[in-house]
C-alpha cells in the first residue's frame, strides 16, 4: 500500500478535531510509523492540556460586579448623556463616529485620547512660561508657518484669532504620540492663554470632543488626517468659541488652497 504523505497542517488538524474523516486513518497510520511526529503531536496535546489546566477555571469563577450586564447597561445610558452634551452640533465634522469610538477607556486609550493627553501636558507646561513660552515668536509668522508645516508634513498656517481677542504668541515643535506636532500659543490682553496643537493622525475624522481632566480643558477634533486640540482654561463656552473660530479659519484656508487661489 502506498502511504499518502501527511502534512504538518494535517497533524494540527488531527489534534484540533479539524481533520476530514477520510484522512483520519492515514494520519494515524503515519503517526504509527513516524515516532518523531508522534512525539510532536503528543507534545502539542500536553501544551493544550496545560493551557486548559492553567486558565480553564477562570470561566467557573463568579463574574465580578464590574462586569454585570445590568450595571453596564445603566452606565451606557449615562455615557450617551455625556456624549450629547459635549458634541456641538456646529462641529459635526465627522458625524458621531468619533464619540462611538470613545469609551474603550482604561484598557485602550485611543489615538485621540493619547493626543489630547499630550496636548494638555504641553499646554500645562508652556503656558506658565514667562520668558520662553515659544520657540518662534508670532511676529515671525511666515517663518513659523513654513517651518512647522514642513516638520509636521502638512500645510497649516496658525489661525488668526485677533477677532476674538487672541494674539498669536508664537509656536514650537513638539514630539507627539504619532510624530511631530505643531504647537501654537495665543494670549488674551488679560493674560489668559490658549494653545492649538496639531499633528497628523491615522484616526478617522471625528466630531469635536470636550475633555476637562483638571483646571485646563481641551477640545479635540480630527479632520482629513490631522488632529487638532485646543486647550485652555476649563470653561467650556469660552473654549468652544475659540475652537470654533480656529476651526472655521483652518477650514477656510483649506478651501482656499483647494480652489487654487
Amino acid at each position: 500500500m502506498i502511504e499518502t504523505p501527511v502534512t504538518e497542517d494535517e497533524l494540527h488538524a488531527y489534534i484540533d478535531g479539524e481533520l476530514p474523516a477520510d484522512r483520519l486513518a492515514a494520519v494515524e497510520a503515519w503517526l504509527g510509523g513516524h515516532p518523531e511526529d508522534a512525539a510532536k503531536v503528543a507534545h502539542w496535546r500536553t501544551q493544550a492540556e496545560q493551557i486548559r489546566a492553567r486558565y480553564g477555571a477562570v470561566a467557573k469563577e463568579d463574574v465580578p460586579a464590574q462586569l454585570r450586564l445590568d450595571r453596564l447597561l445603566r452606565r451606557k445610558r449615562s455615557w450617551i448623556g455625556i456624549a450629547a452634551a459635549a458634541t456641538i452640533a456646529a462641529f459635526m465634522v465627522g458625524g458621531v463616529a468619533g464619540w462611538m469610538a470613545r469609551g474603550a477607556s482604561a484598557a485602550a486609550p485611543s489615538p485621540i485620547e493619547l493626543l489630547t493627553e499630550d496636548a494638555l501636558a504641553a499646554h500645562r507646561l508652556y503656558v506658565v512660561e514667562v520668558r520662553h513660552p515659544v520657540e518662534v515668536p508670532g511676529a515671525e509668522r511666515p517663518h513659523l508657518t513654513q517651518w512647522l508645516s514642513k516638520r509636521i508634513g502638512y500645510d497649516l498656517a496658525p489661525p488668526e484669532l485677533d477677532a476674538i481677542g487672541l494674539k498669536l504668541v508664537g509656536g514650537r515643535l513638539l514630539p507627539g504620540p504619532a510624530g511631530a506636532a505643531a504647537f501654537y500659543m495665543y494670549e488674551r490682553a488679560s493674560g489668559e492663554r490658549f494653545t492649538l496643537y496639531c499633528s497628523r493622525t491615522k484616526a478617522a475624522a471625528t466630531a469635536m470632543r470636550f475633555s476637562a481632566p483638571g483646571r485646563n480643558a481641551a477640545l479635540t477634533w480630527v479632520d482629513h488626517g490631522v488632529a487638532y486640540v485646543i486647550a485652555g482654561p476649563s470653561e467650556r463656552d469660552e473654549l468652544t468659541r475659540v475652537a470654533k473660530a480656529a476651526y472655521e479659519q483652518i477650514d477656510a484656508d483649506k478651501a482656499e488652497k483647494k480652489s487654487g487661489t
Partner: protein
C-alpha cells in the same frame, strides 16, 4: 434584557477566561472584558446575526491589539524582578511554565492558539475573528506550538544562550 443581551451575558465567563490567558493579568483581563461588553452593547445595531460568541471574541481581540499598540508607544519601566521572571530563568514546574511560554509568543500567535485550544473555536471561526485566511491561522498555530515546545524543552532565546 433582550435575547442579544442575554447572549452576551452567557459568554462573559468564556470571555474572561480568554482575556486572562491573553493578558496573563486578572485586572487587565477584566478591564478588557468590560470594554468589550460596553462596545458590544453599544454596537447592537452592527451585529447582523451569526455567531455572537465569535463576534465578541473579535471585539476583545481587537481591543487587546489596540491596548498593546498604545502600550508600545509609551515608555514602560519594568521592575528588575519582572524582567528576570519574564525570561532569564529556565522553565519551572506547574502553571507558571505555560504562562511564560505563552508570554513569549507574539500577539497573533498567542490569540490563535488560545482561541483554538482554550476556547474551542474552529479554524474557520478563528480566521473570521482575526480577519485573515485559514492558511494564516494554520501558520500562526504551527509557529505558536513550535515556539512553546522550544521554550518548554528548555531552549533559551538565542541572545541568552551563553556557552
Amino acid at each position: 434584557m433582550n435575547t442579544f443581551q442575554q447572549g452576551i451575558e452567557a459568554t462573559i465567563p468564556a470571555l474572561r477566561r480568554y482575556a486572562r490567558a491573553l493578558t496573563r493579568n486578572a485586572e487587565t483581563a477584566d478591564d478588557l472584558v468590560q470594554d468589550t461588553l460596553v462596545r458590544a452593547l453599544r454596537s447592537e445595531h452592527l451585529f447582523h446575526g451569526g455567531e455572537l460568541r465569535s463576534w465578541l471574541y473579535t471585539i476583545l481581540t481587537n481591543l487587546n491589539r489596540n491596548r498593546l499598540r498604545a502600550l508600545a508607544r509609551r515608555p514602560t519601566v519594568l521592575a528588575i524582578d519582572d524582567y528576570d521572571s519574564a525570561g532569564a530563568f529556565g522553565p519551572e514546574t506547574g502553571g507558571r511554565d505555560i504562562e511564560r511560554a505563552l508570554a513569549g509568543l507574539v500577539e497573533e500567535q498567542r490569540s490563535t492558539l488560545l482561541l483554538v485550544v482554550l476556547e474551542g473555536l474552529s479554524y474557520r471561526e478563528v480566521a473570521d475573528v482575526q480577519g485573515v485566511p485559514i492558511g494564516t491561522v494554520m501558520s500562526r498555530l504551527a509557529r505558536a506550538r513550535a515556539q512553546i515546545k522550544a521554550y518548554l524543552d528548555g531552549e533559551r532565546p538565542a541572545l541568552r544562550r551563553v556557552k
